[in-house]
Each structure stands twice: as structure tokens, then as C-alpha cells.
């Protein structure tokens, strides 16, 4: 009988674990619970600052007495970089934690899955970072809003500058997944519109995180382009730059237009190897002089020490600020319909100034810093940058209506 006895033991302990794991925690009735799902383990560089930003905003708001008389409470969940897991965490947050508001998503496919979940379950959802255009357009829906600027906005912020160069022969390099491919196709389309004689002489799409930089650089330079559009980031970008410098592809003669490279997450690891002649989007937190941002910076560093900010920091902070504004606008009601109504057209404050959620596609008008890269004190920084508000980077309402299904 030993076999069955032990089988029973395993079974009972398994069920006990389910029971313990699934039991309902005590609930504080007077708080507004924000359930946040993100790829904490997979993207620690971004999510570390992101979480800190969220906590800072929550502490500030709760110190003032909360929103509509209720304090904010944040519950975060790791999605293990997997959409199915993200959905389960959402269910967990809704059924067990009884959260009032769902937010999160770093990866595009997870953002997309959560967007659809929101639609199916009729739950308000604030996608904070995932950049895919689909989230507000192709699969956009009544219940989903997105904070960070989309891939399209990133590309469109650079196109005007790119056209000014009047270079004919362009090379493109981007990671082989939706972010890269849609950035590249948006870039090609917008460039063709504004500069019809443009030619795309080389296109390389290495697998994400597995670039073979030497071969890629050589293939690009063999095509003799006059300018390059880049959507690589992270480890791929570091390899691309080092190899490009060594092989003389990058430098004075090669203007590069590169999205998100100026975000500290991706800029810092490059140290002093920043090549010349790059125009990037990013987040120059060290030199933004607006009072709102100065105050944010001071408070952040007061709370977490003199550490560098990340792009995640301001996104996380602004996420909570947006929710604060939304809940205030709905008069403290947190049912999905009230929140949706409140968020459509909602204005809220961020360290970068006033931002709003567009009624037409629920995209926030998150603006972008566009500038050049330089090395100061052995570190890469953005210089000569300007801030472009998000509303200027989006297509016309007519086009948006074509892209987005009616609710």
C-alpha cells in the first residue's frame, strides 16, 4: 500500500498548497487598489525605476490624504514575460485581490493580450509601456488606454529631422519582432511620403538579443548607405555600436536616426562609446530644467538616494498621476464605465507637463525628447534636444478612424 499512501500525501499537500495560495487576503475597504502586471523579472532595468516611480507617486498622494478620500494601494505581479501568465495574474488581481484598476505591460504581445482581456471582461485597463500601435488602433477598444508614446510616434518624431538631411540612400536595422518591423515600415512609409526619391538600400533584421554584429555591419556598409535608421536597443545596440565603430561604419560620415536610444536604460551601458552623429529619442532627466521635472527629480532622489533616473521612473510616476487624475474625475467611482468615461479626454500632470488621453483612440499625448548624443564625463548624454508634444506626432483623426475598429 505504500504507493497509494504516498500518492495521497502528495495529493493532500498539493491541495493544501492550492488552498493556502488561493485564500483571500484581508481587505482594506477604504483604499483604491491598483493591480499592476509587468515583466519585472525579465526587464529589471526598466521595471526597477518604474516601480520606484510608482511608489513615489503613491506616497506623495497618500501623504496628501489620497484621492477622493481614499488612499491608493499598489499590488504588483510578475507576468514572467508570458501573455498567458499575465492574463492569469489579471484574473488573480480581479478575483482575489479585488483590485479597482488594472495597469501594466512592458512587452507588446502582453500589452496586446491584456488589451483584449479588458475588452472581453469589460475591465478598465491602463497599458503603461507596451509600444505597439495595435494597442490603440488595430485591437484598440473602449476599455483600454495607453500612456507611453507608440512606435508610430517614436518614428514620426524623427522623420522630420531625417528629411532635413536630404540623404537618398538609407539603411535600416531593427530587431526582428513587431516593435522593429513596424518601426521600420512606419519609417519607410513616412519617409516616402515626405521625400519621394528616398531609397532603402539595405535592411537587416537580426533576431532580438542575438545579433551577429560584425556580419550585419559589413552587410550594411557594403550597400554604401548615406544614412541609417536604427531600432535596435539593449545588448544588440551595444554590439552594433562597438562593431560599427571598429569597422568605421559609424562616425562623422554616417548620420543615424535611432528610436529610444536616449533612454537611460539603453544609453548608460554604452558608456563612452557613443558614436557621433546620432539623432535619438530619449529621456535626458539630468538636464531637463522645467520646474515640474526639477521637483520630480528632487523628490525621487530624496526618496531613493542620488541614483540615476530611468525612463521607467517617469513612466511609473506618471502612471499613478494619471490614475489619480482619473479617479478624481470620476468622483471616486472605480467601476469600469465610470473610469472609461473619466479617462476619455482626461488631462493629467506629469513631470513633463500636461498630458491627456485622446478620446479618439485612448492614446496619451506623451511627448518625446528628440536630440543628439554626446559624451560628457565619460558618459553618454542627450544634448541639443527639444520636446515634441505627443499630439503633434499622431496621424490625423480620419486616418485613426480607419485604423481603429469602432467600439
Amino acid at each position: 500500500m505504500t504507493k497509494q499512501v504516498s500518492f495521497r500525501h502528495v495529493l493532500l499537500s498539493g491541495l493544501a498548497t492550492i488552498a493556502i495560495g488561493a485564500s483571500v487576503p484581508a481587505r482594506a475597504e477604504d483604499t483604491i487598489k491598483i493591480g499592476e502586471i509587468n515583466s519585472y523579472k525579465s526587464q529589471p532595468v526598466f521595471t526597477d525605476g518604474y516601480k520606484k516611480g510608482m511608489m513615489l507617486a503613491i506616497d506623495q498622494i497618500n501623504a496628501k490624504g489620497g484621492v477622493a478620500g481614499r488612499k491608493l494601494e499598489l499590488i504588483t505581479r510578475d507576468d514572467n514575460a508570458n501573455p498567458g501568465e499575465a492574463i492569469r495574474q489579471a484574473e488573480d488581481l480581479v478575483t482575489r485581490e479585488k483590485v479597482d484598476i488594472l495597469a501594466g505591460a512592458f512587452y507588446a504581445h502582453i500589452g496586446t493580450a491584456l488589451t483584449d482581456y479588458a475588452k472581453q471582461k469589460k475591465r478598465f485597463m491602463l497599458i503603461t509601456e507596451a509600444l505597439s500601435d495595435n494597442i490603440v488602433w488595430a485591437v484598440g477598444n473602449k476599455y483600454t488606454f495607453r500612456l507611453d508614446s507608440s512606435t508610430y510616434m517614436l518614428v514620426s518624431s524623427l522623420v522630420d529631422e531625417a528629411v532635413k538631411l536630404k540623404k537618398k540612400r538609407w539603411a535600416l536595422i531593427y530587431p526582428n519582432y513587431e516593435f522593429g518591423t513596424s518601426a521600420a515600415s512606419a519609417f519607410k512609409r513616412l519617409m516616402k511620403e515626405k521625400q519621394p526619391d528616398v531609397e532603402f538600400v539595405a535592411e537587416q533584421a537580426p533576431p532580438f538579443n542575438k545579433i551577429d554584429a560584425g556580419s550585419v555591419i559589413q552587410a550594411l556598409s557594403d550597400a554604401k548607405p548615406e544614412a541609417t535608421f536604427n531600432a535596435l536597443f539593449g545588448s544588440d545596440l551595444a554590439q552594433f555600436i562597438r562593431e560599427g565603430n571598429t569597422r568605421g561604419y559609424l562616425g562623422d560620415q554616417m548620420p543615424v536616426f535611432s528610436i529610444i536610444t536616449g533612454q537611460p536604460e539603453y544609453l548608460e551601458p554604452l558608456r563612452d562609446e557613443i558614436p557621433k552623429n546620432w539623432m535619438v529619442t530619449g529621456y535626458p532627466w539630468y538636464s531637463i530644467k522645467t520646474p515640474a521635472h526639477q521637483e520630480f527629480l528632487t523628490e525621487y532622489q530624496k526618496k531613493y538616494g542620488k541614483e540615476n533616473l530611468r525612463f521607467g521612473s517617469i513612466i511609473g510616476y506618471s502612471t499613478i498621476k494619471a490614475i489619480e487624475a482619473g479617479v478624481a474625475a470620476s468622483g471616486g467611482k472605480t467601476d469600469s464605465d465610470s473610469l472609461v468615461a473619466a479617462f476619455e479626454g482626461l488631462n493629467f500632470d506629469t513631470p513633463d507637463g500636461k498630458t491627456s488621453f485622446r478620446k479618439i483612440d485612448h492614446q496619451a499625448t506623451w511627448g518625446l525628447y528628440v536630440g543628439k548624443l554626446a559624451v560628457e564625463d565619460g558618459k553618454g548624454v542627450m544634448v541639443d534636444y527639444h520636446y515634441t508634444p505627443g499630439e503633434k506626432l499622431l496621424p490625423s483623426d480620419d486616418e485613426v478612424r480607419k485604423l481603429r475598429p469602432a467600439d
Binding site: T2, K3, Q4, V5, S6, F7, V10, G14, T17, I18, A22, V24, P44, V45, D48, R77, D78, P83, R88, D92, T95, A108, H109, T112, A113, D116, K119, Q120, S132, V139, E178, T181, E203, Q204, A205, P206, N209, K210, D212, A213, G214, S215, V216, Q218, A219, D222, A223, G234, S235, A238, Q239, R242, E243, T246, R247, G248, P269, L270, R271, E273
Partner: protein
């Protein structure tokens, strides 16, 4: 691409091949001798990068920086080798006698632990190493700038290859290592302390991985993702070259690196008006090469049919039908599961988790069906899970099929895939078969990942929810019933003549053929059945989540399935169910318990591995053995002595 461009690309490939060779050859060596599929090999590569980074930042600066830099590379390799020795002594040595592939579970746990350890020590950011002193610049070759550091890489690969070859063929230690590959027990009886031999081999393999990582640092930043991406490449190289063959690993790393370089060199071409991007092909090219090589040469380029190693696991006990107690337990569990949705007030999350565990259990049971009784290890079972889920998604979204019909048809789509891939796979055996399944799953993955028009590309497809009359709790019950029926059916198959024929082919295919069993045909059918039920799991999954992305076909999905099967115990039919349940509950719990949940999860698995080397379902047998071991000798009935 003109000739000079081609030559330059070939040179690029040569440099890439070196690092690949270093990491792959260590893996091959370890497998050859210890038969351990060292899943943590990529982690040792990653640690090689991190350790050499730290060392170079300390001793690779100042006037002696050249000495410091090169010294740091060597020291880093040695340090990683030392860590490998510790792992072998503290962990692997204890589980050599476990059933096949069990060590994979242990090394999988190590991957999790090492990754979190690296996060804790070095932080989340990528660390870009310094350039090699004296080799910072480039030389002119074929009218192009070619990094001088690449020349060093081109030299070091063959140099290490030569040294290893000498070590294995010209030294006594090498002779011992090769002997241990075949029969370590005999070697022990000849006076060789094989434990230290194994430690030495494992440490050497890890050291090579560490060196591979260290020499890569001037080209590639140390990051927390290289462990997984490296292990995949290394496995492919080892298998393409032939497991255990060091010249094979060398040849294969050259082949793969060169083909990749040429694909990149070709870039985008227009053929008959169709744009073909060879650059995008690099996503999957190594797996295409592996599939082709294995179909043509079933043991890799330079591999040979593996002599059956005597270093093998205990024999499985004969099948016994479940006792009444067992049946009652099963019914009890089923009823308990049926009650979960009724707890929506007290335990609202139980049904959510239960749903996922049910799907995981079916996935694991279908995998176990081919791995356990079928004896066909699969590293690519996610292919059928993915075909089942994408099949359903496409049938619903693009063919506008009603959901219930799609649920019926989608598993058959997966079955068709299994029928096709299985035809090739069953011609192979052992790790080669497993790697071909992996190749096929990666090929399916890359098609799904890039076919934006149909599959939605990397973002996947959304809006695939059950019809209203089947949604919510009803869907849970549908899942419960379908999973219950499927598991029951698979169990019946195992107890039926077909299941016996599967096990017969596994135990001795020679003997099975000699009594008229068409082993390949039996395996092919088993493979397909496993594919259909794996597909059903995928179908059930997708309607519970509403969306699908290429993750469902990823390697890690296959690995999850493997972990569940091994954790539960591959030699037991209840093993995969227990494994899936424990895996699901554990992961759900640890992910919430700490930020370093990977390390905790890995640690728990390591504990289970050491405590229950036959899997959780093997606990009973262990208790039995313990009982007999400590039972006082007087209790043993002695036979009458004849006088």
C-alpha cells in the same frame, strides 16, 4: 554580394565560430562522459562574461592593463571551472543513478538560481566590457576594416581544439575520459576513481564555457539573457556535429557561423518579384541546418551510433493497474476539482489556477505518453501545443468556424503537424530525436513569429474567447471533463496492446522487430497521438486566455513540460499529473513570495531533485527501499541449509 564581400563575411563567420565552439565543445564533452544534458551550460557561459568583466575592471586597468586583461580571461575561465566542479560534487554526483534526463531538471534549476545570483551580484544592466589591449582597432582586409580582435578569436578556437584533442588522445587522463564515456562502473573496478574523473570533465566543460564567455566580452555586453540564448546555440552545434564528438563540434560551429554570416551578407533579395529577407532567416537558420543534418545523418556530421551506455538508469517496474484506493483517490480529486468553482466566494482564485493546472496536466501527460512509455524524449512538445492553439485561433478568426467545431478540429491540426514531423523524428533516437523535435518546434515558432498576415507575428492573435454559452464556469467544467477524458484515454492506450508495443519498442527495438512489431510505425502513431492531445491542451489554453502569442511554441514552454514530467517522475503514469500540479502551484506561489522568485523556485526544485531522485511519484518506491534497508536482518526468511 561580390567575391571580396563573401570572403569578408566568411572571415566574420570564422570569428563567430570560435566562441560558439568553445561553449559547445564543453557541453559535448560533458554529455559524452557523464550523459548529463547540462542545461546550465549557457549559465556558465554567462558567468564567464560577468566574472571576466569584474576582473578586468579591477586588474585590467592602469599600466599593467594588458597583463591584467588577458590574465582576467584565464582567471574567469578557471573560476567558472571551479564553480562547475562544486556543482558536480554537491549536486550532480548525488543523482547519477536517477532515470534518464533527470539531471536536466537539476541543471534547469541551476539556470534559475544562477540567473538570479547574477542579477543580485551584478545588477540588471548590461555590462559592456573593455576592448582587448593591443587589439582595439582594425586591420584592412579585402578593402574593409576588420577588427583585429577577431583575429585573436579565429586563432583561439582551433588552438583550444588542438589542445583538447591532444588531451583526449595523448594523455592517460584522456584515455580514462573516453573509457568512462562507455562504462564508468568497469573503470571503477579497474581502480579509477571515476567520481573525480567526472568532476574533472564537468569542470573542464564549464571552464570552456566560461572561457567562451570571457573571450566574447570585448564584443558583446554581459547580460542576463545570454544564458538561455547561448544554451540553444550550443545544443544545436553539439547535435549537428554529433554528440560527444569534438571535431564534430568544431565543424558544426564553423558551418552554422558561416551560414549565418552568408545569410546576413545576402540580406534582402528580390526573386521573381518576391522579396525574401535572408537577414530575417537568421532567426531560425541554425534549426533549419540541424533539421536537414539530422534527417540526412541521424547522428550528426561526425557522430556515430551511440553504443548503449552502461551508465544507465534503473529499469522501470512492470505496469500495474490502479488499485481501488488509487481509483477512489482519482475520483476524489476529480470531485474536488469539480467543486473549485463553487468556492468563488471563499477561494475565488482556485478555479483560475485550477484551469491552468488542468491544461498543464494534459500537456504534461501527452508529453509523458511519448517520453515515458514511448521512450521518445521531446524537447519540442510546444510545437503541438502551439499548433493546437494557433489552429483554433486561425479557424475561429480567419475561417470563422464556430468555437466548438474549432475545438474539435484544432487538435487534429496539431496531430497533422505531429504526423509530418514524427515521420522524420522516429527515424532517430535518444537525444538526437529530442533535438529534431526541438528543431521542428523552432521552425514552427519562427513561421508563426514572422507570418504577420495570418498569425499576427510576434504580437499574436486576440479575441479568441469561448462562445457565451460556454464561457466562465462552464468553460472550466468543459476543460475538466475534456482533460479528465483525455488523461483517461491516454492511460487506456498505455494499458492496451498498443501501449505494450510502445514499451516493447522502447525496451528493446531489436527484439520487438523480431516478434513482428513495426517499431517505427508504433512510434509514429504514438508521436501523433501525443501531438493531438498536446494540441488539445493548447486549444483549451487559448480559449481560457482569449489571446495567443508565439510564446506558446517557445522552447521554454517545452522545457516547462519537461520539468513537469521529470519532477513528477518519468517512470510513473501519475507522475506528469503530480508534476504539473506541483509545478503550477509552486510557481504561482513563489512568483508572489519574493522578487528573487526564480532563485527560490530553482532552489525548491533542487531540493526536490535531491530528495526525490525518482520524481515525486517515486516517493513510494523510495520509502519501500528505505524500509527494507533498515529492516533488521533477523526478519529475513532464511532458506534451509542442505547438509
Amino acid at each position: 554580394m561580390d567575391l571580396s564581400a563573401l570572403l569578408a563575411q566568411l572571415l566574420n563567420g570564422l570569428a563567430g565560430a570560435s566562441s560558439l565552439f568553445l561553449v559547445a565543445t564543453g557541453l559535448s564533452l560533458i554529455f559524452g562522459v557523464t550523459r548529463i544534458v547540462n542545461f546550465a551550460h549557457g549559465s556558465f557561459f554567462m558567468l564567464g562574461m560577468y566574472v571576466s568583466y569584474s576582473l578586468i575592471e579591477r586588474i585590467g586597468v592602469g599600466p599593467w592593463r594588458a597583463v591584467g586583461f588577458w590574465g582576467a580571461l584565464v582567471l574567469a575561465a578557471l573560476a567558472v571551472g571551479l564553480l562547475g566542479a562544486l556543482v558536480e560534487i554537491l549536486l550532480l554526483r548525488r543523482i547519477y543513478k536517477a532515470p534518464e534526463l533527470f539531471q536536466l531538471l537539476a541543471t534547469f534549476a541551476l539556470v534559475l538560481v544562477f540567473n538570479d545570483a547574477a542579477l543580485w551580484i551584478w545588477g540588471p544592466e548590461d555590462l559592456l566590457g573593455r576592448r582587448a589591449p593591443g587589439l582595439e582597432g582594425a586591420i584592412q582586409l579585402f578593402g574593409r576594416a576588420y577588427p583585429s580582435y577577431n583575429l585573436f578569436l579565429i586563432v583561439i578556437g582551433p588552438a583550444i581544439f588542438g589542445l583538447l584533442w591532444m588531451l583526449l588522445t595523448k594523455t592517460r587522463w584522456g584515455v580514462m575520459v573516453r573509457a568512462a564515456t562507455h562504462d564508468r562502473e568497469m573503470l571503477g573496478a579497474l581502480g579509477v576513481n571515476q567520481a573525480w574523473l567526472f568532476t574533472g570533465v564537468f569542470a573542464l566543460g564549464c571552464m570552456l564555457a566560461g572561457l567562451g564567455g570571457a573571450v566574447q566580452l570585448p564584443r558583446q555586453p554581459a547580460s542576463l539573457t545570454v544564458d538561455i540564448s547561448t544554451i540553444g546555440d550550443a545544443f544545436v552545434v553539439v547535435v549537428v556535429g554529433g554528440m560527444g564528438s569534438i571535431p564534430g563540434a568544431f565543424l558544426a560551429s564553423l558551418l552554422i557561423a558561416e551560414v549565418k554570416a552568408i545569410c546576413i551578407g545576402i540580406g534582402t533579395v528580390h526573386l521573381a518579384g518576391i522579396e525574401i529577407s535572408f537577414s530575417k532567416l537568421t532567426l531560425v537558420v541554425e534549426f533549419l541546418i540541424m533539421a536537414v543534418v539530422l534527417v540526412i545523418r541521424p547522428w550528426g556530421l561526425l557522430g556515430r551510433l551511440q553504443a548503449t551506455s552502461r551508465n544507465s538508469a534503473p529499469v522501470e517496474a512492470p505496469l500495474k493497474p490502479g488499485s481501488n484506493w488509487f481509483r477512489m483517490t482519482v475520483i476524489g480529486v476529480f470531485l474536488l476539482m469539480a467543486m473549485l468553482p463553487m468556492l468563488d466566494q471563499s477561494l475565488p482564485y482556485a478555479a483560475v489556477l485550477g484551469q491552468d493546472i488542468l491544461v498543464a496536466a494534459l500537456f504534461a501527460v501527452s508529453l509523458h505518453f511519448m517520453m515515458g512509455p514511448g521512450g521518445m524524449h521531446s524537447f519540442g512538445h510546444s510545437a503541438y501545443y502551439g499548433l493546437g492553439s494557433y489552429g483554433a485561433a486561425i479557424l475561429v478568426k480567419l475561417a470563422f468556424m464556430p468555437m466548438p467545431l474549432a475545438m474539435l478540429v484544432a487538435p487534429l491540426v496539431a496531430g497533422l503537424g505531429a504526423l509530418l514531423f514524427g515521420w522524420f523524428c522516429v527515424r532517430l533516437s535518444g537525444v538526437y530525436l529530442a533535438m529534431l523535435t526541438l528543431a521542428f518546434s523552432q521552425i514552427v515558432w519562427s513561421v508563426v513569429f514572422q507570418w504577420d498576415a495570418v498569425t499576427g507575428g510576434s504580437n499574436g492573435m486576440v479575441g479568441i474567447w469561448p462562445e457565451d454559452w460556454l464561457s466562465g464556469t462552464r468553460y472550466y467544467y468543459l476543460t475538466l471533463v475534456l482533460v479528465g477524458l483525455s488523461v483517461y484515454a491516454l492511460r487506456r492506450f498505455v494499458f492496451a496492446p498498443f501501449g505494450y508495443a510502445m514499451r516493447a519498442g522502447r525496451d528493446s527495438s531489436l527484439r520487438a522487430e523480431a516478434i513482428g512489431i513495426d517499431v517505427k510505425l508504433v512510434q509514429w502513431l504514438a508521436f501523433t497521438i501525443a501531438g493531438v492531445f498536446g494540441g488539445l491542451a493548447g486549444t483549451l489554453y487559448i480559449f481560457s486566455k482569449g489571446s495567443v502569442s508565439p510564446d506558446v511554441i517557445s522552447v521554454s514552454k517545452s522545457v516547462d513540460g519537461l520539468v513537469m514530467v521529470l519532477l513528477g517522475g518519468i517512470q510513473s503514469l501519475t507522475g506528469p499529473v503530480i508534476g504539473a500540479a506541483v509545478f503550477g502551484v509552486l510557481q504561482d506561489w513563489v512568483m508572489r513570495a519574493t522578487d528573487y522568485w526564480r532563485a527560490l523556485f530553482g532552489g525548491i526544485i533542487l531540493f526536490l531533485v535531491l530528495a526525490f531522485p525518482e520524481g515525486l511519484a517515486g516517493i513510494s518506491r523510495q520509502i519501500e527501499t528505505l524500509w527494507q534497508l533498515y529492516r533488521p536482518a533477523v526478519g529475513v526468511v532464511r532458506r534451509e541449509k542442505l547438509t
